[in-house]
Amino acid sequence: MRDLGLRLRSWEGMLLAILVVVVALNALAAPGYLTVQNQINLFELSVEKAIVVLVMTFVIISGEIDLSVASVMGLAAVVVAVLSSQGVPTEVAIVVALGVGSLCGLANGFWVAIVGLPSLAVTLAGLIGYRGLARVLIEDRSVGGFPDWFESLGQQPILGPLPLALIIFAVMVVGATIILSRSGFGRYVYVLGSNIQVARFSGVRTSRVRLTIFTASGFVAALSGVLLAARLGAVRGSTAEGFELDIITMVLLGGVSIFGGRGTMPGVILSILLILNLRNGLGLANVTGNTQTGVIGVLLILSVLIPNLVGMARSRFGREEAVTLTSPGMTQID
């Protein structure tokens, strides 16, 4: 148990160290990097993904996966755009979109928690199905023309230099951290991901917890889809396509185990900061698109490889036992 605590701490320590290096290099390479406006820019360009990362952390720690988040984002954005363009008040359209997203999440949760299907298959079907629904609704068009107040919510600062999405993100960071590490629900999430049988026998209402997590995932994805529509001002069938991979990448780089049961919110937040700053630095150096993705891919592989290699080396030299994957984050629960 102590090994694990150390390892987690060192994971976050490693992320922090890399983050410091990235920030230092960026500051040296790009004079404008440290300006307030640039710091806001770098968040604003990816804040919708970052918001979903927070809820995805719960999903993965509980031992599940939600591949459908980007499709739900797209569907919610499409619903807002299509309804608004047909004369429905945008306020109502937003509520409908959030409802649709929550229903998508609830449907995922139903198949996983009640019927007992693997979340990988269920949400893969969701990825295809919800995206398909979005494309049926909007066809091959680009729909925009939102009212000004909606676009300015996505584009203009409303508190100091901060736009709405950043404020929502900041509030959610605090909320998610508290729920995961300080609440009974957070504890259930860890237990569920560690060993679902144990959770069941200990009286955790596993179905209800999983339904809640998946519904929350759908709701938050829809919320960030609406924010994306507001920021971009127009929506297409391909809006947010492929975001799920970036989102899951940020969660895993944050030290959350893909097998569930282990990971912390501070680690995930460091991972978000690291990836956003890295992207921004590469962007300022005109390194973009596929190359950026490549760099982040290498980072992810290394971050998975290095700790495991260290563990293997330790066990070979017999100084310490290898850290195994079967004793997940009970340390979080005390």
């Binding site: 820019n41 198949w111 298959a121 079907a125 068009r141 971009l232 127009a234 300022l284 005109n286 973009t288």
Partner: protein, 376 residues
């Protein structure tokens, strides 16, 4: 267990059907681009001959500039970069020109990211071929506020918000007319149905041209031709190819496909050639001679039009340099010399509700008589 199996199977089928697509291929390999005959540099159009005379650029000033096409990886934008580099050398700008862009799939997000980062990079001007509709306007306005000029070329910002100037390749309304003419030509004297294969629904120039085409078609002269559909291939070869085939399936009486995009026209021509449909459905629109020569000679795409992207890049660089150095302010009526291409006047853009433009022109219509020479 059976339920699980059934659902797993359904999922697999969904994936398979969702992903399978007729083996599409990229358009014909492109021959290295030689400038389509350094075309007759057209002197400033209209220009109510203000006595002031045209402003000339002072070479050697240091201006950090970025050429941002819709996306990287297709010939027209490489040609524009070639023209811009030519102007950069001529103007002896010590700052190297950045030629960057997103991928075609990530064009909207990618362009917004470049525009957002531009002021932080210390850029004095971004030369943008807009593929993000008005979605890029907030980022462009923020860039202007932070001291970065935004000059559009090829494809403007529809609302003109955040845009200093638009360097227009040709008059957008005239593209509508030339496309209507070509559609009439291809469907024969008895007319017939045709469809448009566009790039992305967010591409401002494409939308403007389709609108101009629809306007032109109202003329009784074109009563026999009927526009039955507009589809989008996103300037991705495979998607454009599939969309062209889908058009033929959907509209059995289709006689022509007009693609006002170099990616779309080449993909559509290849699709018709591969499916041996060239006798029935002709392809036309805007294309590069080097990519279209074989389709023009074999009759799949008997005629198409285009302008010089090298000249467009050259003129855009010149205009942007003058604007960023303060030699011109970007106001209506200003005259300047665009290097080897002659004098130009900044005018109101008559094809948009707002915005200023510099009109380059002209375009060339290619057919079997002149395409080979232009493709060399």
């Amino acid at each position: 267990m059976n339920v699980r199996l059934a659902i797993a199977l359904l999922g697999t089928i969904a994936i398979l059907t969702g992903c399978s697509s007729p083996g599409a291929a990229s358009p014909a390999a492109s021959v290295a681009a030689s400038t389509p005959a350094a075309s007759a540099s057209e002197p400033a159009p209209s220009a109510s001959a203000a006595a002031g005379g045209a402003v000339k650029a002072t070479p050697g000033q240091s201006v950090k500039m970025m050429l941002l096409p819709k996306f990287l990886g297709i010939l027209p934008f490489d040609q524009a970069n070639k023209g811009a580099e030519e102007a950069a050398t001529e103007l002896a700008n010590p700052e190297k020109l950045s030629f960057v862009g997103p991928t075609a799939e990530n064009s909207v997000q990618g362009q917004i990211e470049f525009m957002t980062n531009a002021p932080t990079q210390g850029l004095k001007v971004v030369m943008l071929s807009n593929n993000a509709g008005d979605q890029i306007a907030p980022a462009a306005e923020a860039a202007q506020t932070a001291g970065t000029k935004v000059v559009t070329w090829d494809s403007p910002i529809p609302s003109a918000k955040g845009e200093s100037l638009f360097v227009a390749q040709v008059d957008f309304d005239s593209i509508g007319v030339v496309m209507a003419d070509m559609a009439l030509d291809l469907t024969g004297s008895d007319g017939g149905e045709f469809a448009v294969l566009s790039a992305s629904p967010d591409a401002a120039n494409q939308n403007a041209w389709i609108a101009a085409l629809e306007k032109a078609l109202k003329d009784p002269k074109y009563a026999a031709v009927k526009l039955v559909d507009t589809v989008y291939g996103d300037d991705v070869s495979e998607k454009s190819y599939n969309q062209a085939l889908a058009l033929v399936d959907k509209h059995p009486k289709l006689e022509a496909i007009m693609a006002p995009t170099t990616v779309g026209i080449a993909a559509a021509a290849k699709a018709m050639q591969d499916e041996k449909l060239c006798d029935k459905v002709k392809v036309s629109g805007l294309g590069l001679p080097s990519e279209m020569v074989s389709y023009t000679l074999n009759g799949c795409a008997p005629e198409f039009a285009l302008w010089s992207f090298v000249d467009l890049g050259y003129l855009t660089y010149y205009t942007s340099y003058l604007l960023a150095t303060g030699a011109i302010q970007g106001t209506e009526g200003e005259q300047f010399t665009g290097g080897r291409m002659g004098d130009y006047t900044i005018e109101k853009d008559p094809t948009r509700d707002a915005g200023l433009r510099v009109l380059m022109g002209p375009f060339t219509v290619y057919n079997k008589d002149n395409v080979e020479a232009a493709a060399k």
